[in-house]
């Protein structure tokens, strides 16, 4: 019986040590991700294992797109405000419909531009990582396609 107790204690200690070691390794990986904020691109570099050149290309794409994105933001904000104003003023149905169509059209333009940006960023990554990037990010976009029409890098 003493033999069983010794072996079981050794086995339990080894299980706890193995658990702790694996957990520590994962914690380091999560900390590497957690050390970057959502507005930062560092997590993309870490997660998709980009080298300096690839990361520089991705960063430039985001910098360029930020200007386009800001324009779309402003357009959508203006159109949305107009629609809200017309709604609160009980405007004519034709005016309301026109304002709604304008918002929808702007959103469509924005949607197309965002997905094109996603494709460009994915293309700047190694093919396999680009596919992972799209698979990870695309479902979080507005009106993300869940009908099989997913993007490809």
């Amino acid at each position: 019986m003493k033999q069983i107790a010794i072996v079981l204690v050794a086995a339990l200690v080894s299980a706890v040590c193995a658990f702790w070691l694996v957990q520590r390794r994962h914690d380091a990986g999560i900390a590497a991700l957690a050390g970057t904020s959502g507005d930062d691109l560092q997590w993309i570099r870490t997660e998709f294992r980009l080298d300096d050149a690839q990361f520089a290309a991705v960063k430039k794409l985001h910098d360029d797109y930020a200007v386009v994105c800001a324009g779309h933001c402003a357009d959508i904000a203006a159109a949305t405000t107009r629609l809200q104003r017309l709604t609160s003023e009980n405007a004519a149905p034709t005016d309301l419909e026109a304002a709604r169509r304008e918002v929808a059209a702007l959103e469509e333009v924005c949607n197309t531009a965002t997905r094109a940006h996603l494709r460009r960023v994915a293309a700047a990554m190694p093919a396999e990582q680009g596919a992972r990037y799209i698979a990870l990010v695309e479902p979080h976009l507005a009106h993300s396609p869940h009908d099989g029409s997913r993007l490809t890098p």
Partner: protein, 120 residues
């Protein structure tokens, strides 16, 4: 040392012929025998422990047990930590999507979990 006087074979034979054994009938004999056998037999739990002790007395089996437990510990940690990392990654992806999608920035999208601002 003097030898004890031995009975003559004829005497012994005569004595054995007169010897009678008259055992009392015991109707419970079979049951009592089985009860004694059962009492002598070790319990399954005890037998299992003895077998385990014999097995773990071998160095290879003891090492294998330690390694097996270590593998189980590592496996459990791998499963729990992998899901935590996935959750963190999904959160980062959601925040990032908000930073590049103007529709989400205006709260009109399907995923409203992240702050405004463009990724840089």
């Amino acid at each position: 040392m003097a030898k004890p006087p031995a009975k003559q074979p004829d005497d012994l034979s005569r004595l054995l012929r007169t010897w009678e054994v008259d055992p009392a009938d015991d109707l419970q004999l079979a049951r009592k025998v089985w009860q004694r056998l059962a009492a002598e037999r070790p319990s399954p739990w005890r037998a299992w422990l003895d077998g385990l002790a014999r097995l773990l007395a071998q160095p290879i089996a003891a090492s294998a047990a330690v390694l097996l437990f270590a593998a189980v510990g590592a496996g459990v940690a791998e499963l729990t930590q992998a899901s935590a990392r996935e959750a963190r990654l999904e959160r980062l992806a959601a925040e990032y999507a908000h930073s590049i999608d103007p529709i989400l920035m205006h709260g009109r999208g399907t995923d409203a979990a992240a702050p405004h601002g463009h990724a840089r």
